[in-house]
Amino acid sequence: MSVLRIENLTRRFGGLVALSGVNLELRENEILGLIGPNGAGKTTLVNVISGIYLPNSGRIIFDGKDVTESPAHIRCRLGIGRTFQIIQPNQNLNVLENVMVGSLFGQGAGLKEARRKAQEICQFLGLSRIERDITRLTVLEIKKMEMAHALATQPKVLLLDEIMTGLNIDEAREVIELVRKIRDQGMTICVIEHMMRIIKELTDRVLVLDRGEVIAEGLYEEVSNDPRVISAYLGEEE
């Protein structure tokens, strides 16, 4: 069963083809790893799926519905949740309120309910000190808050764009555990990371993007031994 299907997606920026004819399928309840060299088009793909950019051609089918033309906020409400590679949290709200925004508008909850849900999610992710001003958060806390925010919109599919970049191993492990737990609640997840160790540990399946095209797809072991992937992305290391 696929939750999200992408058919022949192309997105250009002026002369640059950031995505060219990408096909992709997210199967229910899996964790898909999306990797590829810098500038391969991973973030662009997330942006197109979540409706920040419209594609030049191709279709996006989510939960059986064609959402290619839907605006971003509608997609969010339908159940596409995402995080941002470059996070700009709302400085005027505290941690809890930032998370609340997700539940308020993503699932249309009332204020009280939104607050309760946000608290639940923060607790679930181990975010304490939630009444705090967000200027003083550590990177880990910001990343968790970003995740909490996405979770609060109650997505069916969650796109995590480099959520673990900048974390050390201990911290990354903690987040990996969390992502697993989230999946166990019935969500479908797509993670973008550059740390192969994380991809290896976390994902069920891996998809490799290079210059806007899918160059490999399969289990981690298969993909990581693919010579094209090695030359374009991994290098001789690992």
């Binding site: 060299p37 990177v139 991994l234 290098g235």
Partner: protein
Amino acid sequence: MLVVKGVDIYYGKLQVLWDLSLQVGKESVGLFGPNGAGKTTLVNAIVGLVKPANGEITFGGRSLLPLETHRIIREGVAVVPQERELFPFMSVLGNLKSGAAYIPGARDKIDERMRFIFDIFPVLKERLGQLAVTLSGGEQRMLAIARSLMAGPKLLILDEPSSGLQPSLVSDLFRRMREIREKEGVSILIAEQNVRQCLRAIDRGYVIENGRVVIEDSAEGLAHSDHVRRSYLGL
């Protein structure tokens, strides 16, 4: 070259660095620690973006504390900030030029430096006319590193240079750092989360936790320290 002695730093009432001392000679030095340990704060203190309450920071025997940031940079310190700090609506080329244009001595060597940089990051050459804001996350990181190299610094400070870079580039990057250090005699200070890779590039390293130095050792020593192996190498 760089000597940091007994530095205390506060954000408002919150103290984040406690009596911190460290040195970088003609060598590569790593700076490790969990999130929030104070690495970026230390980097910012060296380049004058935050001022310590106590302590002394000298570079080549000269105190950096009274100098403003741009002066410190002109003294020969180049930095790759954690947040990249590019000029978003300038082209890649403009960003690169700006790295050299205000450093005495670096101005005349722009072409030579560019060649060197395109050798490390060939992608940047393809993107030369593109506005920095439209680059991908990793490309922006490359540009930030490249811009700092344009200055031809005596001391190069990199704050999490590898984050967001593809694996092949990460190992490449650290190899290059080693090269630069050896060939050009640049002192290097790298704050990194990717300790495993970074250890290959450095001579010595410090581990900072909660704003204090907890371990100081050679690269070799760090790689064998229990604490480092457990917390930073995931072994």
